[in-house]
Structure formats: structure tokens, C-alpha cells
């Protein structure tokens, strides 16, 4: 049970709520520690399992051996360590960044729009990235093979941001002085229109360039295979900025839960705060989508699963979304690379395979309140 305000040392607290204070504080600590442990376990597990490389149980020992001041005889050869460190670990960390980012962005979007069906792709981040990737792939790999940054990634990132910016400008242009002016509904509707338009443009381009359809489709399905440390380095700054912005706005997201008008009556600048949160969430989403493709489900369902288990307050939901979203995608990626080895099952397929039954289980066993 989340009781955000009750945990300050020294606050004069009514005796009848004192026990609740202690319970809430212990509960917060338990959730953060537990989720951190789950993430650590997922990272180790993700690094330990793969079609080639050392025996799985040697990998945790090898990881320990590489920590400062610790020496353990893991029996892992240099070649095997290279598989763990250069092939598996970038993939695991990329999965963690993508999963954490999509989950926390989903939670942020659901908060500012007070809509449980919203995901980080609402305002066109995914559609824009898809169009950008399509344009880059259509232009031809041959021309851009020597470029320092993969043009598909760059084009997807820029088109993603541009699409969300267009959505925001269109939505803002409909704002008037009436009661709906601050509701955010116009923004959501603008998103629907812009996404439809961008998708239509993408379809038009694909219809005229059928040789890249397969490549674009593979990109759309999302992938973590072939991840390198440079991929990780590419998105870390954006994910960090987004994560910090959303962490700093956890309190605002709780205020948004009482509606735009009440939030405004409480002194919140609704439009400005919403813009900051959306920009923050979009920046990271565009970055991870441009590297990993469209991985659905995570941003929509992981925050809801956390709400069902740990409560709906954003002070707890935002950090837990980062930790558990990261864990979820690492774990979902393991069967993706094992099931049909050496081929890969698209990560988006696996997330839905694993996540949907788990979410249905949660819905059946727990009440939303």
C-alpha cells in the first residue's frame, strides 16, 4: 500500500496511522530491493544462457572474477569470456535499457493522459521511427554503408521525434479556452490522425519499393540480436535523460490523477508540465525504438502489472517500471534466442507470448484497487 507522505522522519503523525506509516515505509524498501535483486538476477541469467559459450554456471563466477578486489577461478577461457562480454552482455544491457525505457515511458504517458490504454507510441514515436527506417532502407544500404552512424537508426530517431513534434503542434493548435482546452484529449486525437497519416506514407513508399518490404518488416518486429556496446552507448544518454525527467516528475504524475482541472486548481501548470513529461518520455522512446525496432506490449502492460502488484502511486510506479521493465525484457529475450536457435524468434512476439498470460493471471488474481 502506497502512503507517499507518511515516511518522513520527525513528522507528527496521528497514532492511528502510525502503523500504516511503518508498513508503507517497509513496503517501499522491500519493493525497491526486491526489484533490484530481480534485475541483477535477470542480468546474470541473461549473460549465462546462450547457444554457444561457457557452461551457464561458470558465467556468474566469471562475472564475479571481473569485479574489483574479487578473484574466483571460474574456468572460463578468454574466448568464452569474449562471447559473454562482447556478444551476450551488450544484448542483455540493451534489453534492460529498452525494456526499462519503454515501461517507464508507458507509465509516464498513461499518467499525463490518464488513459490506461496509452503506450509510449501514442503520439507517433513508433510510426515516425517506422517511416524514418523505411525511408533510410529504401534509399539503399549501398550508399550509406560507410557512414559512422547507421542511417536507419538516425533516420528512425529523427523521424520519431519529428512526428511527435508535429502531433504536439497539431494538438496545441486546437486548444481553446473551453473546458477541453487542458484535457489532453485533443492531443490524443491529433496523435491518432498523425499516426494514420505517417503510416499511410510508409505504406505508400513500401508499395513502390517492394524489395525492402521484408527488411522493413523485420525492423518493425523488433530485435536485440547483433547488439553491440556502441548500440548501448548510443542510447544511454537519451535513456538517462528520460529516466531522470520522469523520476523528477513522479509527484506531478500523482497530481495528474485528479484530472487536469483539479491539478490546475492545485497550482500545477498543466500544459507545461505535460509537455515536459511527454518530451522526456519521447526522447528515450525514440532512441530505443530507433535501435531495437518496435517492441510492443512492454510499455503498455508492464506498468499495469506493477500497478496490480505494488499500487498505482507514481512515486513507486516510475522506479519500479524502470527496474522491472528492464528485467522483463531481459528475461523475455532468453527464450527468443533459444527456441529456434540459431534463428531468432522476434522479441516482440516473445514479450506478448510471455507477458499476455502473466498479465491475465494478474488480472484474475488481483483487484485493481
Amino acid at each position: 500500500m502506497a502512503v507517499a507522505g507518511l515516511d518522513a522522519e520527525g513528522a507528527r503523525v496521528d497514532p492511528s496511522v502510525r502503523s500504516t506509516l511503518a508498513t508503507a515505509r517497509r513496503s517501499d524498501v522491500r519493493w525497491y530491493l526486491g526489484s533490484g535483486a530481480v534485475l541483477l538476477g535477470a542480468i546474470v541469467l541473461g549473460a549465462s544462457i546462450g547457444p554457444a559459450g561457457p557452461e551457464w554456471w561458470r558465467v556468474p563466477l566469471a562475472l564475479l572474477d571481473h569485479l574489483p578486489l574479487i578473484s574466483v577461478d571460474s574456468g572460463v577461457t578468454t574466448a568464452e569470456w569474449n562471447i559473454v562480454w562482447r556478444i551476450r552482455m551488450p544484448r542483455v544491457i540493451l534489453a534492460a535499457l529498452v525494456g526499462g525505457m519503454l515501461s517507464v515511458a508507458g507509465a509516464g504517458y498513461q499518467g499525463v493522459f490518464r488513459n490506461p490504454l496509452v503506450d509510449p507510441y501514442l503520439l507517433g514515436a513508433a510510426a515516425g521511427a517506422g517511416l524514418g527506417a523505411t525511408i533510410a532502407l529504401t534509399a539503399g544500404r549501398g550508399v550509406t554503408a560507410s557512414w559512422p552512424v547507421d542511417p536507419v537508426v538516425g533516420a528512425a530517431f529523427l523521424a520519431s521525434l519529428a512526428t511527435v513534434a508535429v502531433t504536439y503542434l497539431v494538438g496545441a493548435s486546437f486548444h481553446g479556452s473551453g473546458p477541453s482546452a487542458r484535457s489532453g484529449v485533443t492531443l490524443v486525437l491529433a496523435g491518432v490522425a498523425v499516426v494514420s497519416f505517417v503510416t499511410a506514407v510508409q505504406t505508400f513508399i513500401l508499395q513502390r519499393n517492394q524489395d525492402v518490404v521484408r527488411e522493413v518488416f523485420q525492423w518493425i518486429l523488433g530485435r536485440l540480436s547483433g547488439a553491440t556496446w556502441s548500440d548501448v552507448r548510443l542510447i544511454v544518454p537519451y535513456v538517462a535523460i528520460s529516466g531522470i525527467v520522469l523520476m523528477l516528475h513522479r509527484r506531478h504524475l500523482d497530481v495528474f490523477r485528479v484530472g487536469d482541472e483539479e491539478a490546475a486548481a492545485l497550482g500545477v501548470s498543466v500544459s507545461r508540465t505535460r509537455l515536459v513529461i511527454v518530451v522526456g518520455a519521447t526522447l528515450g522512446t525514440a532512441a530505443v525504438v530507433s535501435v531495437s525496432g518496435l517492441i510492443g506490449f512492454v510499455g503498455l502492460v508492464v506498468p499495469h502489472a506493477i500497478r496490480l502488484m505494488a499500487g498505482a502511486g507514481y512515486r513507486r510506479l516510475i522506479p519500479l517500471s524502470m527496474l522491472l521493465g528492464a528485467s522483463f525484457l531481459i528475461l523475455a529475450d532468453i527464450p527468443g534466442r533459444m527456441l529456434s536457435s540459431p534463428a531468432e524468434t522476434p522479441i516482440g512476439v516473445v514479450t506478448a507470448f510471455i507477458g499476455a498470460p502473466f498479465f491475465i493471471y494478474l488480472l484474475r488474481t488481483r483487484r485493481m484497487t
Partner: protein, 261 residues
């Protein structure tokens, strides 16, 4: 000095003017009831005072205009309870009341120990202590209304605006809510402005009534002065009789069958 002053306040939605040059002075500790038919402009007037709609004219609290100050500073002066507040079912009472401290928290800040003390005090005063950890969705309509009032009181604003505070309550909870506002007003010296539909309750609980019709104040005074059968017939297009309770002088508006002449 008047606690709250409306100076020629006009509200328009597009080309439609819903409040026209409303001027009034509400004294410190006074409870002003705003009555009128649907669409008369009651809610718009309150929303203007809360800074939720653009308006012409000026609203002053303690002599100072609200126009040039920040949203947070305004929320420290005026607390507003909407007609149908959005109450998150899965938020506990303490966290909900804590939202009332939002105007006092810096943009990247968090609530201070003092903020939490204020919340605990308000929860105590509204006898919500046993419910502090309860989810709002599990509470009755009356308890939720108390939680909403608690959130507004946590703002520690000298002026409380209530838009139809009893519209969703049964008669018992209506009375409890209004008695609570009376108690809080006497205890804290709050100045209250409420839009109300129930004319008898409005006349019973408020110090003074303003009757709005199509955005214009057509009567202003005590319940006995404002609530006359003739005036109510003209403004509400209703057939009523108005009785005075001989024991306490309360004005009772009784609807009668038939159409007004």
C-alpha cells in the same frame, strides 16, 4: 477588508458570454451562496475565481489581485472543489489529502515535514484518521466528500470555493457536508463561496445569497430577501411556495405542481 472581491468579472466561452460584469465583496469568514438555474454561470464564476478559465475584470483576495501571481501562489489563496471531482479509486486518503500541499512544494521538490503535519492535522479535524490508509474507491460517497474537503483544506487558503458540494449526496450526507463546512468556517475563519442547487439548503447554511440569471446577478441579499416565490418563478420558471419556519426563521422553498403563470 473584504476577503474576496469580484470586480466586474465577465467570462466568455468563444462568443458566448456566460457571466457578465459580476461585482461583489465577500467579507472574511462570510459564506456566500451562488444560486441560479442551470447555465446561469455559477460554476463559471467559481472557476474564474480559481483561475481555471480566462476572464475579464479582476478577482482580489485580501485586497491583492490574483491576476499577476503564479498558479501556485493563487492556489495558496483560493482552494477549489469541483462539482464532480475526479477521485482516483486506487489512491489512499492520506496521499489524496497530501495533494492539497502541491502549491507549497517546489517544482522538483517533495512535501516537507510541515506539509505532512498539516495533512495529519486536517485528517484529524475531519475525523478521517481511521480512513487514512483506506483507498478512496472503498469509501462511501459521504466519506469521499470529506476527503475532497480535506484536500482543499490542506491548501490552507483563506478562500474556499465549492461548486455544488452536495450534488452527489443523499439528504443525510448533504447535511453532514454542509455542517462540516460551517464548522470549518467557524473554526478556521474560512471565507466560503459555493454554487448550490438546493435553494432551501442554500438559504439555511449560507450568510448571503446571490441569484444569477443568464450570467447576471439579479438579486443579492439574505435568504428571505432573495428567495421569494415571485422571483424564483421568473428566474427558474418554476411554481413554488416559500415558507418561513417560525422556530428559526429558515426559508423553505417548496415546489408545487403546475407551471408558473
Amino acid at each position: 477588508m473584504s476577503a474576496l472581491e469580484f470586480d466586474a468579472v465577465s467570462v466568455s466561452y468563444g462568443k458566448s458570454r456566460v457571466v457578465t460584469e459580476f461585482t461583489d465583496r465577500v467579507e472574511s469568514g462570510e459564506w456566500l451562496g451562488v444560486i441560479g438555474p442551470n447555465g446561469a454561470g455559477k460554476s463559471s464564476l467559481l472557476r474564474a475565481a480559481a483561475g481555471l478559465v480566462r476572464f475579464e475584470g479582476d478577482v482580489r483576495v485580501g485586497g491583492d489581485s490574483l491576476a499577476p501571481i503564479t498558479d501556485a501562489a493563487r492556489a495558496q489563496q483560493v482552494a477549489y472543489v469541483a462539482q464532480d471531482p475526479l477521485i482516483p479509486d486506487d489512491m489512499c486518503v492520506f496521499d489524496y489529502v497530501l495533494l492539497g500541499r502541491t502549491p507549497y512544494v517546489g517544482y522538483f521538490g517533495t512535501e516537507s515535514i510541515h506539509d505532512r503535519e498539516v495533512v495529519v492535522d486536517v485528517i484529524d479535524r475531519l475525523r478521517l484518521g481511521p480512513f487514512a490508509a483506506r483507498m478512496l474507491g472503498s469509501m462511501s460517497g459521504g466519506e469521499r466528500q470529506r476527503a475532497v474537503l480535506a484536500r482543499a483544506l490542506a491548501q490552507e487558503a483563506p478562500v474556499l470555493l465549492l461548486d455544488e458540494p452536495t450534488s452527489a449526496l443523499d439528504i443525510g450526507h448533504q447535511q453532514q457536508a454542509l455542517e462540516l463546512v460551517t464548522e470549518l468556517r467557524e473554526h478556521s475563519g474560512l471565507t466560503v463561496v459555493s454554487a448550490m442547487h438546493d435553494l432551501t439548503l442554500a438559504g439555511t447554511y449560507t450568510d448571503r445569497l446571490v441569484l444569477l440569471d443568464e450570467g447576471v446577478a439579479v438579486a443579492n441579499g439574505s435568504a428571505a430577501e432573495v428567495l421569494t416565490a415571485e422571483r424564483l418563478g421568473e428566474v427558474f420558471h418554476v411554481c413554488v411556495t416559500v415558507d418561513i419556519d417560525p422556530t428559526d426563521g429558515a426559508v423553505i422553498v417548496v415546489p408545487r405542481r403546475g407551471f408558473p403563470a
